[in-house]
Symmetry: C2
């Protein structure tokens, strides 16, 4: 992940409604959740939810598939992992404290 993608991903996450959407989709599991259910869960109008889901989708943070009348959204862990990787190993690489403070170790 390069700077422009990282910037797009960070911008997509830097919004209350969208962060709430991510949380809802995480707890929904691999089956995902329909747009309407997401709207209900985050307390947004259908129009608002659609707007934010489009932003998340554009950033690659969610995927969607239509099932009959519903459109079901799922979280894309890969993209979040890429952002974490970017922060830890690219943008802010070089400091041991960065790894020490979040309960993780280098693998290799």
């Amino acid at each position: 992940m390069k700077d422009p993608e990282a910037l797009a991903t960070l911008s997509a996450l830097a919004n209350p409604a969208r962060l709430a959407t991510i949380r809802v989709l995480v707890s929904a599991g691999p089956g995902g959740l329909a747009a309407g259910a997401i709207a209900r869960d985050i307390g947004a109008s259908p129009s608002q939810a659609s707007f934010h889901l489009a932003a998340l989708s554009e950033a690659g943070l969610v995927t969607s598939t239509r099932h009959a009348r519903e459109i079901r959204y799922r979280i894309a862990y890969q993209r979040i992992g890429a952002l974490i990787d970017y922060l830890m190993n690219d943008c802010c690489a070089g400091d041991p404290a960065l790894r020490a403070c979040c309960g993780i170790d280098l693998r290799g």
Copy 2:
């Protein structure tokens, strides 16, 4: 780190000038860099640099100390580590793929 702090941190990082500032401060090392040098390195006016440094400082991503006429800024790895921790273990916890895709393993 809770949602409001995570949101503030994400918002602070979601800006080209500020992300560039982070990169510059990372490569500057523990000695940090004066505001003027940062402005020069990221191609911003003193006023712009000050604006963005204030935002980063407000978010806890940098610290500053005055040395004579200069104000020297340093990166706060702790805060970035806390954001990574938030993304990996709180907000998006529960998916093995999240850890698998960025070269890291759980410690405990």
